[in-house]
């Protein structure tokens, strides 16, 4: 995985740069000591690490603005970071780059119960938003599994999903406004603190959501809140084959039911979890679906009956339905324990993230199985079946030579198979460095050039998170800056007849 060559002249100036940054944020909020920089050397993609030049912890939009202006003046690269839970290397540091972490920008600024909006700083952990508005009967719905740690800023940068996003939408469906700082030092306020904030005119918020730290540093986010569903119940459906489970997924959707959650676990996941927390299902169950339905009690009870009927028509090996909150938690524990459980089964795990049309589930499962044999590595399947977002977990041993590259090759093959089946490289983890070199499988040169030009419009200096998302550098200079007077005739020296 090639990253940009570090600029040694910048590295040589570490002490001067630290001193300048300390004048902006205060002495203690710039980390230059090597041992103290080490905890930041990788994010959730632990196979890759790099020690950042310095770590800086601003507290306000103004401090972020001054840091960015300074970096632009000195041509210093910058990598933004929330909690560093990215699974694609989005917050992987650069040796010659400043790591800007939002850890101190952790205030919930305002909660507006009338507009049902929470305005927060980017360093606020996802779960804290719901905690802060629960007393109003409201909640913040996007719930990536990292939500206890991952920050709203990070969620916005990756356009995070989570179990609930099939019914409620992903992060971008919940952001009504943003404040962001560009590398130029310009601070832009986009959208508004109300429903419809992003529908006012030529709205630019969409450009930033999912932009993986390449376009701007986001310094404030306005989030849409929804009423807490009064009732939530889950069905644990055990099937005798992965095929049966896949067909059940399609059947539920085809009946016009949009569950609040629909998760798939294969035999290996089930086995690992059972060894970890105790048996979660009967031995003849080859695949499980966890189907959560939420809403008013009368609706939930009715939908539970419908889903049970659909599942029975396909053929169930086992059925468990929660009737209390405790039972619901117990049934979910199995799914939530998957990664912890897999960690005991293999030395190292590589979690991938591709998206396919739901109907292609049986086909992709077959292909993953074939690829497992081709690459000689074991795997487990656990994913958001309702929206076709896969998370195959590849098991390997980094101590074995070639195992990491085998795992990556296996992962890359899974993702290209997703594209072949009408899907995409990444459903929620982002491209980062992990999938960067696969972008040409999904996009033509023109598609990529169009996206790169967007980068140039936001960050023509190419200082924000270089080496991520796109396989080749932006080279903004080659695209040419837009003409100041757009009414001037192009190619004015060419004769016309």
């Amino acid at each position: 995985m090639k990253m940009p060559e570090p600029d040694q002249s910048v590295i040589a100036r570490r002490a001067t740069i630290a001193a300048k940054l300390r004048r902006i944020v205060g002495y203690e909020w710039v980390i230059d000591n090597e041992a103290e920089r080490r905890p930041y050397e990788s994010d959730g993609l632990t196979a890759y690490s790099a020690l950042p030049l310095l770590v800086v912890l601003p507290q306000s939009t103004e401090e972020v603005r001054q840091i960015l202006i300074y970096c632009r003046q000195e041509n210093i690269k910058l990598v933004p970071r929330g909690s560093g839970t990215s699974l694609s290397g989005g917050a992987l540091p650069l040796e010659d780059g400043i790591l800007l972490t939002t850890a101190r920008m952790n205030r919930i600024i305002e909660v507006d119960p009338d507009d049902r909006i929470a305005r927060v700083q980017p360093g606020v952990q996802n779960i804290r938003v719901t905690e802060a508005v629960r007393h109003l009967g409201l909640c913040y719905m996007p719930d990536p599994s990292s939500q206890v740690i991952s920050t709203i800023g990070g969620n916005v940068a990756e356009n995070s999903g989570g179990v609930h996003c099939l019914k409620y939408g992903v992060t971008s469906n919940h952001v009504t406004g943003l404040e962001a700082v560009l590398m130029s030092g310009d601070v832009v306020r986009l959208g508004g603190d109300f429903l419809g904030g992003t529908e006012q005119d030529f709205d630019l918020t969409a450009g930033l959501i999912g932009s993986e730290g390449l376009l701007a540093v986001i310094t404030e986010i306005s989030l849409r809140l929804v009423p807490q569903p009064p009732s939530a119940r889950v069905l644990s459906l055990g099937f005798r084959s992965a095929d049966d489970a896949s067909r059940c997924v399609g059947a539920i959707i085809a009946h016009g039911i949009i569950p609040a959650g629909l998760e798939f676990m294969d035999k290996k996941c089930i086995g690992a979890v059972s060894a970890y927390v105790g048996d979660i299902t009967k031995p003849d169950v080859e695949a499980m679906l966890l189907c959560e339905l939420d809403g008013p009690a009368v609706e939930v009870d009715s939908l539970i009956a419908m889903v049970e009927s659909i599942a029975r028509d396909i053929g169930l090996a086992e059925l468990q339905i929660s009737t209390t909150e405790e039972e619901r938690d117990r049934l979910w524990r199995g799914r939530k324990a998957v990664y912890g459980a897999m960690g005991r089964v293999a030395r190292d795990l590589y979690v991938t993230d591709g998206s396919i049309p739901r109907g292609k589930l049986p086909e992709i499962l077959k292909r993953i199985d074939e690829l497992s044999k081709k690459h000689g590595l074991d795997y487990a399947n656990c994913f958001h079946a309702g929206d076709g977002n896969l998370h195959p977990v590849i098991l390997f041993d980094a101590a074995k030579p070639q195992d990491l590259s085998k795992a990556e090759a296996f992962g890359a093959d899974i993702l290209t198979a997703c594209i072949d089946l009408g899907g995409v490289l990444t459903g929620e983890h982002g491209v980062g460095v992990e999938k960067r070199d696969l972008m040409t499988h999904q996009f033509t040169d023109i598609d990529l050039a169009q996206q790169q030009r967007l980068k140039c419009a936001f960050d023509p200096y190419e200082l924000l998170n270089p080496g991520k998302v796109f396989p080749t550098p932006c080279r903004c200079g080659e695209f040419g800056r837009p003409r100041a007077n757009s009414r001037s005739r192009p190619f004015s020296d060419i004769p016309r007849f």
Partner: protein, 400 residues
């Protein structure tokens, strides 16, 4: 300023669209993009010498009801899409408005491309999200005449920048949209609407805010201000019979505190919401102007109180349409924009004669940093300002 009547080209094929735009770059032509032609007057007047008529780029390309996905050519009429989906008990959850009559084009049809380009959503936006939340993928021709795509057909997709959502609401200045892939939802079996009359704007917004905090899955919430006729505050519930009945019970108990509650169901209810969705009451007055305000609901009543005109509050109060005369528009434009801006929102001169839009501008003025960023983005798609130049006025002309 347009001199001779613009030449109109009607390509039959997407490749021809790209060819026309490429030619326009070389020949320094300025194109106005036309779909159904219903909303040409939404936005600042376009300064064009060529009309790029995309009406032949229409039709369903792919519809998989069990996958909840639809791909259509951009000039497919919204009414046609509604019909196709209704046959399978499905819908576009964002309830696209059909503004043809409002803009005085009764024989024309709103197209999905126009709805997406203008980022317009109906009353159900409060529950199911906006058109932008339903767009999964877009194919288009950029200002350079290059055919490109963004997004795809899956609900979960964070591969690269969110081009489809950037194009949504870009008013044709970034690209000529040729195909759109949309998320589809099941259509509800039943609907019921509960109504209160005679509330003041402040009371109505308070009631609606309270109702929208309740876990009732309210799918529409409007207030028709009682300036010329009795005030009407209406809330819609949709779903299957048992669920609707139970929730309506709970909602009724809450609304009863404010007065007598009446209800509409079935065709009566759906006809009422079609009228609100399409601003039919405002369409009846062809000479009038219409403003569209977007701002926080807790400031809505106070902003509107200072303005003369007929008022419709949608989305629980954050989307407000105000009808007034041309003279009323001229005298109140500045204060409207100031008031809306002060509370962090905006006032858009949604419908007005061209001369008035040229004079006052359609959109809320924005700070310099935003304008410059918007212009850089626009230029990255269309460096020679070939597509809809002038539509966004300040952005298109690059002036700060």
């Amino acid at each position: 300023m347009p001199s001779a009547a613009p030449h109109r080209l009607t390509p039959n094929h997407i490749d021809d669209v790209a060819e026309i735009v490429r030619e326009a770059n070389t020949a320094c032509r300025r194109c106005e993009i036309i779909g159904g032609g219903t909303k040409r007057s939404l936005g600042n007047p376009v300064d064009a010498d060529l009309q790029l008529d995309l009406s032949a780029i229409a039709g369903v390309e792919m519809y998989e009801p069990e996958e909840l996905v639809l791909k259509v050519r951009a000039a497919t009429p919204v009414s046609h899409i509604r019909q196709v989906l209704a046959k399978r008990n499905q819908q576009l959850a964002f309830e696209p408005p059909q503004y043809a009559a409002l803009f005085g084009n009764c024989t024309a049809e709103d197209t999905i491309g126009g709805i997406v380009a203008c980022n317009l959503s109906g009353p159900r936006r409060i529950l199911s999200g906006s058109v932008r939340d339903a767009v999964l993928g877009i194919e288009a021709v950029n200002g350079r005449g290059e055919t490109f795509k963004g997004g795809g057909r899956t609900v979960k997709n964070v591969t690269g920048y969110d081009i489809p959502r950037i194009l949504t609401g870009s008013f044709g200045v970034l690209a000529a949209i040729t195909s759109i892939t949309l998320k589809i939802h099941p259509a509800p079996a039943q609907e019921v609407t509960l109504v209160l009359t005679g509330l003041s704007d402040t009371e109505a917004i308070q009631v609606l805010s309270g109702a929208l905090r309740m876990p009732l899955d309210i799918s529409a919430a409007v207030h028709l201000s009682g300036r010329l006729s009795a005030a009407v505050t209406a809330v819609r519930l949709e779903g299957f019979a048992e669920s609707v009945a139970a929730r309506a019970n709970e909602l009724r108990k809450y609304l009863q505190k404010m007065g007598a509650v009446t209800s509409m169901a079935g065709d009566g209810s759906s006809a009422f919401w079609r009228r609100q969705r399409d601003l039919s009451d405002f369409a009846a007055d062809p000479a009038a102007c219409v403003w569209r305000l977007l701002l926080p609901v807790n400031k809505a009543a106070q902003v509107v109180a200072a303005i003369r005109g007929e008022v419709l509050y949608d989305w629980g109060g954050s989307q407000i349409f105000i009808k007034m005369s041309v003279e009323g528009t001229q005298s109140q434009a500045t204060s409207l924009r100031t008031l809306a801006g002060e509370v962090g929102g905006s006032a858009c001169l949604f419908k007005a004669p061209a001369a008035l839009r040229l004079d006052l501008g359609t959109f809320q003025p924005r700070p310099r940093a935003y304008q410059e960023l918007a212009e850089r983005i626009r230029a990255s798609f269309d460096p020679n300002s070939v597509l809809n130049p002038g539509k966004l006025a300040v952005v298109s002309r690059g002036a700060a």
